[in-house]
């Protein structure tokens, strides 16, 4: 049993591993700068195919006391190194973070896989302050209504419908759209066939199939979790327009009227630039945009049968009901002792 070379995948000292990971990123970051004029698919389209990851430490919004748009290389690498070390650190017994399996043990730290170097201080590039624009009056009203509705539904474990969409295996940030990286399993596979681009999202085994033939969006009464997407090429860039969202995913508080434009451009052999613009006047006073580098990753993408394997959700609800019963029994005991 001990002979199996994968049983214990020694990664060396935590800090040493982080440094190795980081130097690979730094080296890759130095290599590019010429515009990419590379591969095309057999039918002449820019080739975006392969496995990619949008794993990142960069927050969506610029941290409050940072005013500049870019870190220096040295600053960015230092931040990444500290993040990597922090990710791999052991949690303290008896603390909430300790009540969890060890991400590092399963290779689920972001620093254990590919990651693009990003000097930006935020993913948001517009507005220029790197933060979400102000909510419109409609947006404020809806945020209040949603908060009130959440409150009236009770506690987070009172019913399955109160749990986060990700815990219910319905939708995660990796899916969106827009597609944003999360803690782990941030891999995507892009394939191109005549007239279509397919983006397979690792999480929830979501295959976004985007037609490129200029057909119209679905009719306005048809609302889907991932909306309706239509693609076209603008030179080297794949442009995807999405509408017909429902009001349940509510990306960053968005309404069902949100219109999303995503753009993919291959920067070099190992990097895609992913940009998106959110247009939702029912929520924000202006459009806003973000940019995320995607790094070449490796496959395979193993089946993410989330709902099928979701013992955890069942256990969470059962555990909450067990706690309720304990609390009720104790209250009854106290009452009978009076």
């Amino acid at each position: 049993m001990m002979n199996n070379r994968f049983l214990v995948l020694l990664s060396g000292l935590v800090v040493a591993a982080a440094v190795t990971w980081l130097s690979a990123i730094a080296a890759a970051g130095q290599a590019r700068s010429k515009p990419y004029t590379g591969l095309r698919t057999p039918d002449g389209q820019p080739d975006l195919q392969g496995f990619w990851t949008n794993a990142t430490y960069t927050p969506l919004e610029r941290p409050k006391n940072i005013t500049k748009e870019f870190y220096t290389r040295a600053e960015a690498l230092e931040i990444m190194k500290r993040q990597a070390v922090e990710e791999a650190e052991q949690t303290q017994p008896g603390t909430i973070p300790d009540v969890h399996y060890d991400f590092t043990q399963f290779g689920l730290d972001r620093s254990q896989g590919a990651m693009a170097l990003n000097l930006r201080t935020s993913l948001i590039v517009d507005p220029p302050d790197g933060r979400l624009p102000a909510l419109s009056a409609d947006g404020r009203r809806r945020a209040d209504e949603r908060a009130a509705a959440r409150k009236s539904r009770g506690g987070p474990h009172d019913a399955v419908q109160n749990e986060p969409l990700g815990a219910r295996c319905i939708l995660m940030d990796r899916n969106g759209p827009p597609m944003l990286g999360g803690a782990y399993n941030n891999t995507y596979q892009i394939m191109q066939a005549p007239g279509y681009v397919m983006i397979l999202v690792e999480m929830l085994h979501d295959a976004r199939i985007i037609p490129l033939d200029g057909r119209p969006q679905l009719p306005p009464n048809v609302r889907q979790w991932t909306g309706s997407s239509r693609g076209r090429w603008e030179g080297p860039t794949l442009v995807i327009e999405t509408a017909n969202l429902n009001d349940k995913f509510a990306f960053q508080g968005a309404s069902e009227n949100m219109r999303l434009t995503e753009r993919f451009t291959r920067v070099d052999d190992d990097t895609l630039r992913y940009q998106f613009t959110v247009d939702d006047p029912s929520t924000w006073t202006s459009r806003w945009s973000a940019e995320v580098p995607w790094k070449k990753d490796k496959g395979p993408i193993f089946e993410h049968a989330c709902h099928e394997g979701n013992y955890g959700l069942y256990n969470t609800l059962a555990g909450a009901r067990a706690e309720d019963k304990r609390a009720a029994d104790e209250a009854a005991k106290k009452k009978s002792q009076k």
């Binding site: 009172d158 019913a159 399955v160 191109q192 007239g195 929830l204 085994h205 395979p300 309720d324």
Partner: protein
């Protein structure tokens, strides 16, 4: 030509006629090519039969009382060579138990991934996205996805609902060899089942611009006495702008699975 055609010409004409009407190998349809020279199976396809109710021949039967005729089983012919599934005796008992309890046990009810070959004949379209290294089959129900590895063939790293598929071309035919299944899926709504030893070899061949012939040889030494084969045509969805719609069905079954764990209102 009063004396008939010269013998040689008559012979060759007869030969040609024989070959054309033989219906088989020498005049097989040749599909348009994908960029890599392989038959192009890209597109949106759908089976049109009643196998999703029951892969064996079956008569119409009632469904849940409150749904009357709307969810009654439609009758259908068998899609199996030889008609019936060759169950081992103990396995047949389990199938019958499954059938008797199908309205609670069918994994389709819980929005679970449908497995293979069931996904191919559920009554919804699926899409083939074809490349030289990977062929993706994307299904409507529960957004199920299969990756067919065309280039590097590996063993399944772990069991899954949709299995691990290794594919290769044999002339005009796509041959897909799938194993690494868990034992959780059914073949239909009638309780036909398998173990995690399931092994399937599918063969897809274009028989015309809008038709594929689909065959699957199914074996599972834990459940069946021998391998058995199903077959059916697959039809291209020809509507302008045909597309797969989202079928995120988890929401539709949450009450059924988790409803009993809802917090009771305090007295």
């Amino acid at each position: 030509m009063r004396n008939g055609l010269p013998t040689a010409l008559a012979t060759s004409l007869a030969l040609m006629l024989a070959v054309m009407t033989a219906g088989g190998q020498s005049r097989a349809y040749r599909a348009p090519r994908a960029a890599d020279g392989k038959p192009n199976f890209n597109g949106i396809w759908q089976a049109v039969n009643e196998a999703y109710w029951d892969v064996e021949a079956h008569a119409a039967a009632p469904g849940p009382v409150e749904l009357g005729a709307a969810h009654a089983t439609a009758g259908g012919l068998s899609i199996i060579d030889g008609g019936t599934i060759p169950y081992k005796p103990e396995a047949l008992k389990k199938k019958q138990e499954n059938y008797a309890n199908r309205l609670t046990l069918d994994p389709e009810i819980k929005c679970y991934l449908p497995g293979v070959p069931r996904a191919n004949y559920m009554p919804y379209p699926f899409q083939i996205i074809q490349g030289p290294k990977y062929i993706m089959m994307v299904y409507t129900f529960a957004g199920a996805v299969r990756t067919i590895y065309m280039d590097e063939h590996k063993e399944a790293p772990a069991d899954s609902w949709m299995g691990w598929s290794n594919g290769h071309w044999e002339g005009e035919t796509l041959v897909v060899d799938t194993s690494g299944f868990n034992d959780q899926t059914w073949f239909d709504r009638a309780g036909n089942f398998h173990s995690d030893a399931l092994h399937i070899v599918e063969r897809l061949t274009a028989t015309g611009p809008e038709h594929l012939s689909y065959e699957a040889t199914i074996e599972d030494p834990n459940v069946f006495t021998r391998a058995w084969k199903i077959s059916m045509p697959l039809y291209r969805r020809l509507e302008k702008n045909a597309q797969l719609m989202e079928f995120r069905c988890v929401e539709f079954v949450e009450e059924l699975i988790y409803g009993h764990l809802r917090k009771k209102p305090s007295q």
